[in-house]
């Protein structure tokens, strides 16, 4: 190539124009503002005292921040028919039971599909992959019929069991195992006489920790954010998210408390993501679909 290559410290410098950098930064800032404004708004609202909430024109900042809205939220919570601790228990219990079962079953199946060559594994995985292509709402009503036949409607099981079989988790786990667990390690463990189950548990699972974490987070987020469900009618079995929605549905009197509720609910999944971001990104590295 005759053209001059710009070099810095003897390394090839990639073609990057100043204008391009500026344009990209500009677009990124605009989009970032668009993404951030609603988040900023809800945080600001949750910290505003009553007189600032209903000020015209509305202010884009707080002058006297207060935690009164959060206190009001807890007062409103304790005024409920069902004790609020019950809703918290419901959500925590279903989230944990659903997530633990999902992690265990999906990893077990993912290991077999990725690392044991048995007839039918490709077909099974194809089926799971296809199910990523349609949304859960398509099957909600027939699920309801099946669950009534199994008599698990209006029990915790109606939330927990389907979570065990959720598809994204298995998909990510299988792809990750395929790319980061080498056959040689497994083979040497098998030659030592270890059973498949033992090989799975002592060799493969410790190697895929980032995928565990990703699975846990996806499953937990789904269950944590679950609101009203058509599978649950009893008030004492409903989720925390549902209860909070009831509070926020109380109209303009509760604008402050409702903003506080949103902040409380969103803090949990966001902090979980912040802690585990690098692991999730690592897992996503193998998320690609090959055909």
């Amino acid at each position: 190539m005759a053209q001059k290559l710009r070099t810095r410290k003897h390394k090839v410098v990639l073609a990057r124009s100043r204008g391009g950098d500026a344009g990209i930064t500009f677009i990124l800032v605009i989009l970032g503002i668009f993404m951030f404004i609603p988040m900023y708004y809800v945080i600001i609202q949750s910290l505003k005292p009553l007189d600032e909430l209903w000020m015209f024109p509305p202010r884009f900042y707080v002058s006297k921040p207060t935690f009164k809205n959060f206190k009001d939220l807890f007062t409103l919570m304790s005024g409920n028919l069902v004790p609020f601790s019950r809703y918290i228990f419901n959500t925590v219990f279903t989230s944990v039971a659903g997530t633990v079962g999902h992690l265990f079953f999906a990893s077990l199946a993912a290991y077999a599909m990725a690392k044991i060559k048995f007839p039918g594994r490709k077909g099974m995985f194809k089926l799971v992959q296809t199910s990523l292509m349609f949304h859960k709402t398509v099957t909600a009503i027939t699920c309801f019929i099946l669950m009534s036949a199994m008599q698990i409607i209006d029990t915790y099981w109606a939330i927990i069991i389907p979570a065990w079989g959720s598809t994204l988790g298995l998909y990510l786990m299988k792809q990750f195992m395929e790319s980061s667990v080498t056959d040689a390690v497994l083979e040497s463990s098998r030659l030592d006489g270890a059973s498949e189950l033992r090989t799975f548990w002592t060799i493969a699972m410790p190697m895929v920790k980032p995928a565990w974490l990703t699975l846990i987070i996806y499953s937990f987020q789904d269950l944590w954010n679950a609101g009203a469900s058509i599978y649950i009618h009893s008030e004492q079995l409903k989720s925390l998210n549902y209860a909070i929605q009831q509070i926020t549905a109380g109209g303009i009197k509760r604008a402050g408390a409702s903003a506080a509720a949103t902040v409380v609910m969103m803090l949990v999944p966001i902090s979980v993501f912040v802690i585990s971001q690098s692991n999730i990104i690592e897992t996503m590295g193998s998320s690609g679909m090959k055909d």
Binding site: G20, Y41, I116, F134, T137, L146, F273, G288
Partner: protein, 315 residues
């Protein structure tokens, strides 16, 4: 070669495919035991419901009486006799055609823009863009940002600037409902595919870019098309599936912001139509028909996009 070995080899080649498969199945019993619990739950709550929906869609099942087989009556009614469904279908396609590509391109572009930033800044930007998709009910704030009174920021700003003289009832106005819902949908849509793109970009071998620069790649756009995208094709595929599925299944946000049904059915989608007949009117047969149609549309759109994506990078 000894006689026994010869015999063995012959019998091995004489074994039919079915016999061989059966032997393999027996040899791998433990693998089937390992997939069994997951596949059982998956079959019960994902595969069986789809099959059952198809079967029920040919009946007039309503949870009360014994169902009768009505063959294609439900499908005929859906496409010829149900004006609301046609509105819902139109809205769904507008929705998917805007939200799907917009969210996909935005995920890809943002992931690409931030790829060369330092890890700390990249983590922060990732959080800003990803947070709305995981923060639960936080999209409800759009309802207050665009609330119908002058306390909503949108109305307040427009009033201050003198663009309007009277508050706009954003979520009660048939002209505003759809565009606003699209904006909110895009806002919440930078989810799994976004993370997948970030990871895909990080995974590309840097040496390839340098080799590209030596080979005469002139600017970052050429680099994107000739090196970056072809290298992350599997992620592009996966991201497309996630974006399409989400853009067709988008319903809860509309219900939460606009009520059900939305004003003049202005943001009524197939998902709403399905919920209406399924969990409110209990016309299970008819709602299954809607579900089957939606299922076919989603899977069809995915198949189509996969074909298109296989052309990326000119290979």
């Amino acid at each position: 070669m000894s006689k026994t070995a010869e015999k063995k080899a012959v019998s091995r080649s004489e074994m039919t495919k079915a016999q061989w498969t059966w032997k393999e199945i027996k040899r791998n019993k433990v693998a089937y035991l390992m997939v069994a619990p997951y596949m059982l739950v998956f079959t019960l709550f994902t595969v069986l419901p789809v099959v059952l929906s198809i079967v029920i869609s040919f009946t007039d099942f309503n949870m009360l009486q014994m169902p009768n087989i009505v063959w294609l009556d439900n499908y005929v009614r859906l496409f010829l006799d149900d004006d609301i469904f046609l509105i819902a279908a139109k809205n769904t396609f507008i929705f998917a055609a805007i939200v799907g590509p917009a969210s996909y391109i935005m995920s890809l572009m943002v992931a690409w823009f931030i790829n060369e930033l330092s890890p700390k800044i990249r983590a922060i930007v990732t959080l800003i863009f990803y947070a709305p998709s995981i923060a639960g009910q936080v999209y409800l704030v759009w309802g207050t940002l665009f609330s119908g009174d002058a306390y909503g920021w949108a109305n307040a700003v427009l009033l201050e600037l003198g663009i309007i003289t009277e508050e706009i009832q954003f979520f009660q106005d048939a002209d505003w409902v759809m565009p606003l819902c699209i904006v909110v949908a895009i806002w919440t849509s930078l989810g799994t595919s976004f993370l997948s793109f970030i990871a895909g970009l990080q995974g590309i071998d840097k040496a390839q870019f340098e080799a590209g620069a030596v080979d005469g790649i002139r600017n970052r756009w050429q680099e994107l098309w000739y090196i970056t995208l072809p290298n992350m094709k599997p992620q592009l595929m996966f991201g497309a599936v996630m974006s399409i599925t989400n853009s067709f299944g988008f319903g809860a946000v509309v219900t939460a912001l606009c009520g059900f049904p939305s004003v003049d059915y202005a943001a009524h989608t197939i998902v709403h139509h399905l919920e209406d007949y399924g969990s409110q009117r209990f016309e299970i047969g008819y709602s299954s028909t809607i579900a089957v149609v939606l299922f076919v549309v989603m899977v069809g759109a995915n198949a189509l996009i996969k074909k298109l994506l296989s052309k990326v990078g000119g290979s």
